[in-house]
Symmetry: C2
Amino acid sequence: MINRLVIVGVGLIGGSLALALKKAKFVRNIIGVGRSEVNLNIARDLRIVDEIAVNLSDAVAEADLIVLAAPLSATRPLFAELRPILSETTILTDVGSVKGGIVKDAEEQLGASFCRFVPGHPIAGSEAKGAKSAFAELFLNHNVLLTPSQKTDSSAISLVEDMWRAAGARVSLLSHTEHDQNLATTSHLPHILAYVLMNLVQDESGVDKLESMVGGGFRDTTRIASSDPEIWVDIILANREEILSACSQYQTKFTEFIDALEVMDGNRILDLIKRAKHARDTLVIPDANNA
Amino acid sequence: MINRLVIVGVGLIGGSLALALKKAKFVRNIIGVGRSEVNLNIARDLRIVDEIAVNLSDAVAEADLIVLAAPLSATRPLFAELRPILSETTILTDVGSVKGGIVKDAEEQLGASFCRFVPGHPIAGSEAKGAKSAFAELFLNHNVLLTPSQKTDSSAISLVEDMWRAAGARVSLLSHTEHDQNLATTSHLPHILAYVLMNLVQDESGVDKLESMVGGGFRDTTRIASSDPEIWVDIILANREEILSACSQYQTKFTEFIDALEVMDGNRILDLIKRAKHARDTLVIPDANNA
C-alpha cells in the first residue's frame, strides 16, 4: 500500500482509477487536483478522492505517485510546472492516448525526474465525462499500455504496473512508436470514420429524418462520434503523422472495395467480406459496456 | 387472428417473427418452408413453427399471408415459383434489405398477384443466424419500413402493418427509391467501412497482435463486420448504384477531414468533430442489443 497518490484531472479516467485503487486498498490517501473547482467538489462529495487541491505544489509534496489524467494539451505545461516541485522519489505516470509527443515533452521538461516517468494509456473510457461519471470497474479486464524508454527506472515501471493491476487491468509494455502506429489504426482512424459518417448522414438528410431507418448497426458504428470533442481534437493533432498514414492506407483499401462493386465483381466482394468477418470473429475484446 | 401464415426461410428474422406472432396470437398456424431440412427440423423442434414443408405449393395452399425471409438472391426465383400457386386472396410480403430490385422482380414475376405484394424491411437483426438464434423480442420497438407502390392493395398493406405491429415493431411507409438511398448511407456504407477497417487491421498487423490494444470503440465500430457474408454480398450488389453514390460522398468528406489534419487546422477539425457529435447525440436509436 502506498501512502499518497495525486491525481491531476479527476474525470472519468482519473476518478475511476481513484475509486478502483481505494477499493483495492492500494493507496491510503488520494489527492485530487484540477482546473474545475466544481468538478473537484463533486469528486470530494462523491468520496472519489480524500482531499482536493487547486495548488499543485501543495498537493505533490510527499506524493509517492502522481497520475496525470488531464487532456493531452494540458499535459506539457504540467511537466514544466512539476519539474521544480517533484521530489527525488516521486513516480509519475499519465493516461494520454498518444505517447510519442508526451515522451518528448517529458524528456525536455522533466529533467532528472524523466527516469521516474512511466508513460501509460488505459484502453478504457466512454462518451461520459467528469467525476460524476467515474466508477470503480472501468478498468476491469481492460488493457493498459505502458511505453517506458531505456531511461525509465524499472522500479517506477513496477509501481505503475502494480497500480493498474490493482485496478483490475491487464498491463502490456511496448515502444511509444509502436503504440502510436497501432492506435492510429485501431482507435484514431475509427473515430474519424465515425465523424465523417455522422456528418454525411446529417448533411444528406438530417438525422431526424432518418430516425425510423437506423438500427443497432448504425448505433454501434457511430457511438464513438459522441466522444468529447476537445479531447479528441487533441489526440488527432498529437498523432497526425501516424493517422495520416493510416487514413491513406484506408483510402486505398476503400477504393479497392468500391472498384470491385463498380464492376460487380461478386466473388471479390464476397472474399473481402469473408476476410473481414474472419478477422473480426477472431478478435477477443473485453465485452464490458465501455472502453 | 389470421389462420395460416407461411414463412419461407426460418432464420433469425423469419424465426423471430414466427415466435413474436405466436406470442401475440396473431396467427393460428405457422408453416415453415426452407432449403435446409436441418434448420427446418430445428425450427419445428423449438416450436418456432407448427409445421414444416419442403414443397412450396403444399405449404402456400390456403395461406392468408406469406413472408419471404430468404436471402435476397433467393427471392427472385421464389416469385416465379409462387405465381402459379398463389390464391387470389393470399397476401405476400418480404424482409429484404434492398427494395428497388425486389419490387421490379415482383412486378415482372408475380402477374396479377403483384397488387397483394407488400415489400418490407425490418431494421433488426444481428450477426447470429439460423432458427436456433431466433427470439420473440427481436422486433420490439424496432422500425419496419414498407415500400408499397401505387398498385398495392390498401388491405394488403393494412394486414402487413398489423402483422409487424403485433410483433412489437413500429411501421413506416416510404418509396422504395427513398428507402434504398437512405439505407445505402445508414446501413450498407457502414458495413463496407467496417469491412475495410477489419481488413486494414488484419493486413497491417494481424488481429492477434492487436488484442491488447483494442477496446470497446473498435469492438462496436467493427461489430457489423461479423454479419453473414452471403447475405451481405447480395445486399451490396443489389443496391450497387446507391451505395457507389454514398461511397463517393463519403470519400469527399473523408478527404476534407484528412486535408484539415494535413494542414493542422485544429479549429476546422474541432468543428467537424463537434458537428458529428451533435448529430449523433441528437439521434434516438432503440438500444436493444441487436438491430
